[in-house]
Symmetry: C2
Subunit: 343 residues, 2 copies
């Protein structure tokens, strides 16, 4: 008996996309527990063949009560749950409502999601090409005198027109001093001469997330800013060059970090080199110093490669592409020019 409560993992296993629900797997068969908001959606998705064949139970009161009923019906006493997704409070409510021995496990479903199947790879190829298409239009939108917010609104509209369901995260347009913040929010600052501009955006297509960063400069960047960009570009290439199945994820980070260290930006590279992509925009594997040393790239993994360097008061740069690990090497899903776009 296993209870899956992460909505992303439920979507992966069943095809049902909602913000709530529980998926109960047992020897007696699989069962999706939903509340009234989603019953029609699930019935229609089932009829269209968009969902795995599972029985659907609609809660009349609380999810705990429905869970007690479903589990009670099977007679199971050992109940495995997702320790990474169940809060201490929720577990307490389940334990109060459902008799049995609850056993938390980490990574019940995530290892399955790590390696993309042929359907998922086909979606990623379409999504990567569509995102590169949006990036190809940046020169229309990034202009001196426009605000970060205006540029971000254009990118978001571009994502929508390119067929993405929604942005995969809040679009980042970070100009001048703001470019030194890896996670800046677009504001009212207007792009002005000498600025470096970080343009980091992504989209969700058929449920899957892609993510890309390009750099622009307003007029001629100063020597220091130009140096940051050159170092990041070289670091990204170094990371891409070492990637193939069998290489340690930490070694990909190491390749980028070695370049930035050598160029004097080691301390300015304040995040990891990349993260996995899938139904979530951040998932396994991480390409990081902190990755488990025995974790290796495998064919079918999809991840970002995005070194950056951030110098407070001067500016920052990041370049990001999405990569599929293949049997023979890698495939860059977001292929396109990575030059500093001078506007």
């Amino acid at each position: 008996m296993c209870v899956v409560s992460s909505s992303t993992n439920i979507a992966y296993l069943t095809g049902f996309h909602g913000s709530a629900g529980l998926f109960v797997q047992s020897a007696e068969g699989d069962c999706l527990v939903l509340d009234g908001r989603y019953a029609t959606v699930a019935t229609e998705a089932g009829a269209r063949g968009d969902m795995a064949s599972v029985s659907v139970v609609t809660t009349e009161t609380t999810y705990e009560a429905a869970l007690a009923e479903v589990i009670g019906g099977t007679g199971a006493t050992r109940i495995v749950f997702e320790a990474d997704h169940v809060t201490v409070s929720l577990l307490k409510r389940w334990q109060a409502a459902v008799p049995g021995d609850f056993q938390g496990h980490t990574s019940l479903v995530e290892p399955l999601r790590l390696i993309k199947d042929s359907h998922e790879i086909a979606v990623f190829r379409r999504a990567g090409a569509a995102l590169a298409g949006v990036a190809a239009r940046l020169a229309e939108w990034v202009r001196e005198g426009r605000s970060e917010r205006q540029v971000a609104a254009d990118i978001n509209l571009g994502l929508s027109r390119a067929g993405f369901t929604r942005p995969a995260f809040d679009t980042i347009v970070a100009s001048g001093p703001n470019s030194a913040h890896p996670h800046a929010h677009p504001g009212d600052r207007r792009l002005s001469g000498g600025d470096l501009v970080v343009l980091d955006f992504g989209g969700v297509l058929d449920g899957y997330c892609v993510d890309l960063t390009r750099m622009a400069a307003v007029g001629r960047p100063g020597d220091e800013a130009a140096g940051i960009f050159r170092a990041v570009r070289k670091a990204q290439q170094a990371a891409l060059d070492v990637m193939c199945a069998g290489v340690a994820t930490s070694a990909v980070d190491g390749a980028a970090r070695q370049v930035l260290d050598a160029e004097g930006f080691g301390a300015a590279f304040v995040h990891g080199t990349g993260h996995g992509l899938g139904l979530e925009v951040h998932e396994a594997p991480r390409l990081s110093r902190l990755s488990p040393p025995d974790e290796r790239l495998r064919a079918g993994m999809v991840c970002t490669v995005e070194p950056g360097a951030y110098v407070p008061g001067v500016g920052g740069a990041r370049l990001e592409d999405d990569v599929l690990v293949t049997d023979t090497g890698i495939e860059v899903l977001t292929a396109g020019p990575r030059d500093l776009l001078t506007v």
Copy 2:
């Protein structure tokens, strides 16, 4: 010694907005633990006076290690944490890294967020008026032959132009049969004669979320569809009419539900009547049958009022406004015409 890990609660208590971090409160002083991605943001926010005066510790390795160091420095042995926000896995990692007695509490910070202060109310008034302004433009965007996705893109651009940082959730444009799904995603379906169209959207302004639903009809709706709208409109008014400080939150739901029951749509009203608004788009209080019977509206609460009725195969309707409970009654923050917009 108290460890706050919900990023929303950290934002509420400190003014720091990020997707990671821990806030440690102790007799020795308060401390924000961040990773390298956020150190510059926090330093600059502090310098601008946008953040509470707290010391900032930057993690060199993991948050667990940093937490052990901070807590070790205080000599505390009893560590209170947010049971609603800490997963079973995370607690295990903390317990492995930090000696002490971890005690999970629910609602450590949320009760403070329930009653809005004068700064928050001022933001809500601006945000509600801006959202009503976007709603006033719906007639420009909702037209026969356009796709749900196109209308949603226009609404999103309208939110951006109205000054919102981002949509508060995925904009819903649900037409014809799709309107029978309370949480539909905009798709390629084109608006056509006789459709009811649910338009549900919201925005984030200065960190706070507002949320509104209006209804349109393409041409003359059928009698059944028109009846659904009329019943929902009457139910929303009934809920608004009973709202004031001291009334049970479940009674507000009851007022709307009684109308829909009487009109024959009791079973078609598959969700609660409303939810609180704040830094999150869904927060306390819930206006629901399932609300604690002793929970009452209090001056300073802000919540949505959004009854709906959904008839599979025919269509659905929802009307939603945001309401501030005051000392003397209520103030509708999103005031504007709620008529069925005929296009």
